[in-house]
Amino acid sequence: MTLRPLLSRTVIVERTGSWLLDLVVFAAVLAGIYGLQVMTRYWFGAMTPAAEISRSPRALPLYAFYSAVRIAVAYLLSLLFALGYGYIAAYNRRLEGLMVAVLDVLQSIPVLSFLPGVMLAMVALFPTRQLGVEFGAILLIFTGQVWNMAFSFYASLKSIPRELREAARIYGFGKWQRFVELELPYGAIGLVWNSMVSVAGGWFFLMACEMFVLGKRDFRLPGLGSYLQTAASAGDTSAIFWGLGTMVGVILLIDQLVWRPAIAWSDKFKFEQVESGSQPSSAVLNLLRRSNLLERFRMAVMAPLAERISLRTARHPEIAETPQPPAHWKMVAAMVAGALLGGAILYSLFQAGMTLKTLTRPELVSTLQGAGATWARVIASLLIAAAWTIPAGVAIGFSPKLARIAQPFAQLAASVPATALFPVLLLALIRMGGGLGVGSILLMLLGTQWYVLFNVIAGAMAIPTDLREVADVFHFSQWARWQTVILPGIFPYLVTGMVTASGGAWNASIVAEYFHFKGQTLQTIGLGAQISSATDSGNWDVLLLSTIVMAALVVGVNRSLWRPLYRLAQTRFKLEG
């Protein structure tokens, strides 16, 4: 392609993309169109809420495709919601406090507790089409993905430097330009990392979201999650391994095709004044950047489109913006809406209270016992995670050589969902004679220890060499070294990792403590098991009670334990230059 005349003073490397590359891109586009067709035909077909799940490996490609689409759609919804919610929370001063508090509570509610409401509503909305059930499952995955993304975008918006904001204001940026050139780029890195965590969470809960019993109704959607669960229920080991292999493959593929390029691309949004030493890179991204076809598409379609939007939304100087006093009717409307909402909340609280009144004493006792048991498990899993990840993470972080070897492996292990491994784990445990009580701790651990490990590695890397040299020069003993240099140095990172892991562990309890295996239901005492079995048997008041208990516990622990530690990490243990 020719150089733009304007840029003739700078040298642009001639595009070197081969026709082969363009062919690949072209094929990918065609495949996408075909996939869309398959999906629409299935979605708008007649409703089969309890599909027969085949255990043949041949069914796997289609199942994997269905599951991937579900997760992708749920992710896109999450992204849109996160952008909207974060934006409103950051700019509407009156709603801000409320919206952040709502976010805090919602993220502590486990996926399954949303299930009955979401599912029944969706089926009622599309009574005859598969779309209803399908959309219910997607919304479930959505509820597991969206909160941390919304919070990340909100926090980014709030931390945009003042002078950048002022520059945007004084140069008259309209809302659209401010969004594309300031707010979205500033939030991009946080959004990308949180997206990865969210999507991993989506895979984690896939089994729970694709196949479940709701009272007397049986819901089964064709997909990888239901395949794995069916295989586990039947005790079909070879099918389990086939399903597992497929899932790992899909996850690795997505990691390479989506997340690596996204991370490498988002590096340009890093808010830094000086270029940093190492930058993430992605071969796929480089290829995409070099594709002639995509470049043509960008120049011919995207660029003019962006131009048109920006011209359309530009503020014209002659229409000067004057701050308008809030209109009277708007105030009234807001008050009426607030009153209606408040009334609705009060009414449903009252109804919930009435529901809870029918609880029997044993149900109450078992919920409290379950809460205690799950709490103990969460603590145990956190302790085990800390016990091995701190030494391992510090060793990796201190040794560049070790880091180069270990990091890809750790990332690989982290991206494999623990639920997929669970059937295998369970088989081994049963063979060794352990029960689900211990097994569930292991499952929580599998899902959450990576957050701690990665944070500890990052923390160890961030300890300045000077401090480590001080320890060398004065011949610190191992103990003194850990006490004065290493532990304080990684503390902020450790707290961040533990907070994430603890939230994840609570949420994981619903799949870890209750499991269909070889035609029977394995369960142990726990809040998660309580929620799962209540969903299965349609026992709404127990479901409601255990959800409230879990949300209260998570929010309570966040407020009373993690928040003070967080503050300590940000004041006393902050490494400043």
């Binding site: 700078t10 002022e166 004084i170 008259g172 503020r315 100087p317």
Partner: protein, 442 residues
């Protein structure tokens, strides 16, 4: 002459109306006229930047009004630009995209945007860097991009908020010179420049008119024309006289600014707590030693030059020496006192003693903390008590800073200590660990 932007009785205060309200800027009148470079000088915390933001419409005044061509300003002004101290470039946009962004906001089509941006980049000497990202540029080049972005919209007034203070001395000098050249050769279509700075020489080099602000709250101390011909020579006697005069105005906040000897100021009620200057006592000691070497008296301007300090760095140190009674100010000169000389010549331990006496005698806050601690049976008090007291006299932020300085000085004087975990003051011999170790020894 018709002013372009005019502030009438604008003021700014924070906090709720009533007793807790803190006034940052007292009602002031100010106008920007076509054809002039107007510099506003003031010590840090004097509200210079707030003033700039009110004039551009970025911030709303708490009282009074800002008039732009006869209309009251309600939001960000049309047709003005700001060059920011931190450059405020968008790191994810290339140099060209950064410069074109304001044009995009005005709906200028792509082709015209590019020609105009490239042209202005040529003017500021950045041709060839169109596709670079800001992080690849040095500080001086980043600020050139800042200038290009400000000038590309052909602003009527160019506002600059400490535009050179994030740059090293040589780069700043170079950029200042080029700015003046653009201005004098009318290569920039701007009708007036408003620059906020704390660098006195910079103001005298650039400005046609200088306004000096006082602080707590900000008031206009003096407003005068600079009649020196350009290019201005730093060594010129008239130049140094002007710099000296501004130093005098800045260092004597209690006196009316005038070139004439001032009439005696009316005695004012002494406030309960004086404002503690936030200076490290090591710097105070250094200043006193230097004064002792210079026959006990020196000119502020020369001192600053010898230390290569800016006024913002030197003033708090001098203020600290003055409130402690180690030095006094006279006609822009600093003179060491007898105790100050004794301090400069003493050894480490003797210095501590002298400092303790001086602090107890002169600093109300330190005296009060010490007395209160001594009066308590357990010799300890939460620091919130004093913060609340200070809150009545200072803004919340300043109250914290005051307390921090008091802690710093009190520790050095060994008058009291402070535990930042429990946020309590205690007398040094009452350190929490002490009783325990005594118990063990029994």
């Amino acid at each position: 002459m018709q002013a372009i932007i005019e502030a009438r009785k604008v003021e700014k205060s924070y906090g709720a109306e009533g007793e807790g309200q803190i006034q940052v800027i007292a009602p002031m009148d100010l106008a920007i006229y076509p054809g002039e470079i107007l510099a506003v000088l003031g010590p840090s915390g004097s509200g210079k930047s707030t003033l700039l933001r009110m004039l551009t419409g970025l911030a709303r005044p708490s009282g009074g009004e800002v008039i732009h061509h006869g209309h009251e300003v309600g939001g960000p002004c049309e047709n003005v630009s700001i060059v920011f101290q931190s450059f405020a470039l968008f790191p994810w946009l290339t140099v060209l995209e950064n410069v074109a962004a304001p044009l995009k906001a005005r709906g200028v089509p792509a082709a015209e945007r590019n020609t105009r941006s490239v042209k202005i980049l040529d003017t500021v000497g950045l041709d060839g860097f169109e596709n670079a990202y800001p992080k690849e540029l040095s500080g001086g080049m980043k600020q050139r991009v800042g200038f290009a972005r400000a000038l590309v919209v052909e602003p009527e007034v160019l506002f600059m908020d400490e535009p050179f203070s994030a740059l090293d001395v040589l780069t700043a000098e170079n950029l200042r010179g080029e700015l003046l050249e653009l201005w004098q050769s009318h290569k920039m279509p701007t009708r007036a420049v408003f620059v906020v700075t704390h660098n006195i020489e910079e103001a005298v080099l650039l400005a046609d008119r200088i306004i000096v602000l006082g602080r707590n709250p900000a008031t206009i101390r003096t407003d005068f024309q600079v009649a020196l011909a350009r290019p201005r020579d730093r060594k010129d006697a008239r130049f140094t006289n002007l710099v000296d005069y501004i130093y005098r105005v800045l260092t004597r906040p209690d006196l009316a600014p005038s070139m004439e000897p001032e009439p005696a100021a009316a005695p004012r009620a002494k406030p309960k707590y004086q404002m503690l200057p936030h200076a490290q006592r090591g710097a105070v000691a250094g200043l006193l030693e230097m004064l002792a070497d210079h026959n006990g008296r020196d000119d502020m301007y020369r001192l600053a030059a010898a230390l290569s300090f800016e006024i913002d760095d030197l003033l708090p140190v001098v203020d600290a020496a003055v409130v402690l009674g180690f030095a006094r100010l006279e006609e822009g000169d600093v003179e060491i006192t007898a105790t100050g000389r004794a301090f400069a010549e003493a050894d480490i331990l003797r210095r501590k003693e002298l400092f303790r006496t001086a602090a107890l005698e002169n600093i109300a806050l330190i005296r009060e903390i010490t007395r209160s601690l001594e009066a308590r049976a357990d010799h300890t008090l939460p620091d919130g008590v004093f913060e609340d007291l200070l809150d009545e006299h200072f803004s919340e932020e300043e109250a914290k800073a005051q307390l921090e300085t008091a802690i710093n000085w009190g520790r050095y004087a060994e008058l009291f200590d402070h535990d930042s975990d429990t946020r309590r003051f205690f007398l040094p011999e009452e350190a929490p660990a002490a009783p325990e170790s005594e118990a063990v020894s029994h």
